[in-house]
């Protein structure tokens, strides 16, 4: 049977948004092929509590592996567990999220299984006997279509490209045992430092407000933060020049060598629109730009451009957004 296995990523006792995106994509693929979708979630004792949420997003079966040494990410134990389960379960497709952990794990599992691997895909379908997936290449300036008839096929899904949606399914829990001893892994995550819970991650934020060199100084990012707070559910990003200058952490950098994001709304403040930056945000649904230079390349991409001084426009925009969102 053409069943699909979805690797559901959890952190700190919660399913990540990308896990539900992968669930939804897996459900669609399995339904199309007339098979079942099984979710696999691994973590410390108590992880089985996440099963109902996976069932509500389309999992026919939820495979739960619990072990104290799965509290933090444990790449070696997960590789062994997922590869073994894929072999014995005879899955046609194994779906990961193209998160930092997923992008370490998926290729390693694929190599262990000598399986076909399509990374960071934005669409995936079974066409006849082949799996067909599209993947942005060359900093998003091109899209490659990858085709494989090999089985199993392993894919990782680009965050934000598959909308998570509810789809009630049985979600029957099946406990599975780790393969080998998870506490004997050679590589150990000894500490996970959670960012502040108030801070939304760039890959999960529906709105991103981003600043470039045009913000003129690190302390001016305060008004970028203010706008993000006024918008609600917004995260703050920056350009490479800004993180290279140490105004913002490298982890906030959006672009070719940083994060690739696809929010509903992207607000570019004092950003000229260099190729390197555009590569990280060109798939945003709506782009707003504020820049003093009318000739800046960012205005070729911005749905709504305002020519003006960010230090004047941004505080006024924040006030207008607060007014518009009164009652929220």
């Amino acid at each position: 049977m053409p069943n699909v296995l979805v690797i559901a990523e959890a952190r700190a006792g919660q399913l990540r948004k990308v896990a539900l995106e992968a669930m939804t994509a897996g459900r669609a693929l399995a339904s199309e092929a007339g098979g079942e979708v099984h979710a696999l979630v691994a973590g410390p004792p108590g992880t089985a509590g996440l099963a109902p949420q996976l069932g509500a997003h389309g999992a026919d079966v939820v495979l739960v592996a619990e072990h104290a040494a799965l509290e933090n990410y444990n790449g070696e134990a997960l590789t062994a567990l997922i590869a073994e389960r894929t072999r014995t379960g005879g899955y046609r497709v194994v779906i990961f999220s193209a998160s930092v952990h997923g992008r370490e794990l998926a290729p390693r599992v694929a190599a262990r299984l000598r399986a076909a691997y399509a990374s960071d895909v934005i669409t995936v379908a079974l066409e006849g006997g082949s799996l067909v997936a599209r993947h942005p290449v060359n900093t998003g300036k091109l899209t490659a279509t990858l085709t494989t008839s090999a089985s199993p096929a392993v894919v990782s899904l680009r965050p934000g490209m598959f909308e998570a949606s509810a789809h009630a399914a049985a979600g029957r829990v099946e406990r599975i045992e780790p393969v080998g001893d998870p506490s004997a892994s050679r590589v150990r995550v000894t500490a996970t430092q959670q960012g502040s819970s108030a801070k939304l991650d760039l890959s999960e934020a529906p709105i991103i407000v981003s600043g470039g060199r045009g913000m003129k100084a690190a302390e001016n990012f305060r008004i970028v933060e203010d706008l993000a707070n006024a918008l609600g559910r917004a995260a703050v990003g920056c350009t490479r020049a800004v993180s290279d200058d140490g105004w913002r952490p490298h982890s906030d950098q959006i672009g070719q060598t940083g994060r690739v994001v696809s929010p509903d709304l992207y607000i570019a403040l004092g950003i000229s629109g260099a190729v390197q930056h555009i590569a990280g945000m060109r798939t945003a649904r709506t782009i707003v730009a504020v820049n003093k230079d009318r000739e800046a390349p960012i205005f070729k991409f911005a749905d709504y451009g305002i020519v003006g001084d960010v230090l004047e426009v941004v505080p006024a925009l924040t006030a207008a957004v607060k007014e518009a969102r009164k009652g929220h």
Partner: protein
């Protein structure tokens, strides 16, 4: 400390891409090339680790066409000691086929560390490094942005989505290097002269079976042309109206 760094020759991303006649590759006419951005951090990390250990060797390994020797020479001019060019006319789309060729080269090299850039900016797969680790059954840490090696143990840091983590690993190991770890040095004239005399071996790449193929390449749908809606603070009411009624994001 004996370190291998796997690097890739990549096309200049600033160019205006055209799809070639076969519909499944890029027309590379007039293109410029360089070492993949992320591989530069891996080279720099290897040079610093070798020098801190007070000796050893940094070997560059690159799979690609004969022209990749330009990028190999650049890596040697930065300070690497020797290089191996695994000759292949085309670099396949299947990371595993590449990983098998690299693993065959690296397997008996007795390297303490094998470093990769986190990703190649052309094919953007982030797959070859982890796959080589698997084929060689070595410990793996991907996307390393902090690194400390003491004897036969290492500690790495990496940034996750909304979190970060600290990882301990034994040597030998495979690491993929993210930006932020260091600032890669530029080759100087002395380095460039020295690189000409450093050993560069070439042998055919023993590519694995290709399970995945690129069947087409397209330019993504263009965004609608940009639109300037006004100047300064005066344009804000119109922006708010458009975000509410047209884009429906507010």
């Amino acid at each position: 400390m004996k370190i291998a760094v796997c690097i890739k020759r990549v096309i200049d991303m600033e160019m205006r891409f055209r799809v070639a006649g076969d519909g499944a590759s890029i027309d590379e006419t007039g293109a410029k090339y360089d070492i993949n951005d992320f591989d530069m951090y891996a080279i720099e990390a290897a040079l610093q680790l070798r020098d801190k250990a007070g000796g050893g060797e940094v070997a560059i390994v690159s799979l690609g066409p004969v022209q990749a020797q330009e990028q190999i020479r650049k890596a040697l001019s930065m300070g690497a000691d020797r290089a191996v060019h695994l000759a292949a006319d085309r670099i396949p789309s299947d990371g595993l086929a590449i990983a098998e060729a690299l693993a065959a080269e690296l397997r008996d090299g007795a390297y303490d560390l094998i470093l990769f850039g986190k990703m190649s900016i052309d094919s953007s797969g982030q797959s070859v490094g982890p796959m080589v680790a698997e084929l060689l059954e070595l410990p793996l840490v991907a996307a390393v942005s902090k690194l400390d090696v003491q004897g036969d143990r290492g500690t790495a840091g990496r940034v996750l989505e909304g979190a970060s983590e600290t990882i301990e690993f034994p040597l030998p190991a495979v690491l993929t290097i993210d930006e932020g770890l260091n600032t890669p040095r530029l080759p100087n004239l002395k380095g460039i002269m020295a690189a000409k005399k450093k050993p560069l071996e070439t042998r055919p790449a023993r590519l694995g079976e290709q399970r995945v193929r690129t069947t087409s390449i397209e330019l993504p749908a263009d965004r609608p042309p940009g639109r300037i809606i006004g100047e300064g603070v005066a344009a804000i009411p119109e922006l708010i109206r458009l975000l509410q009624t047209e884009a429906k994001v507010l």
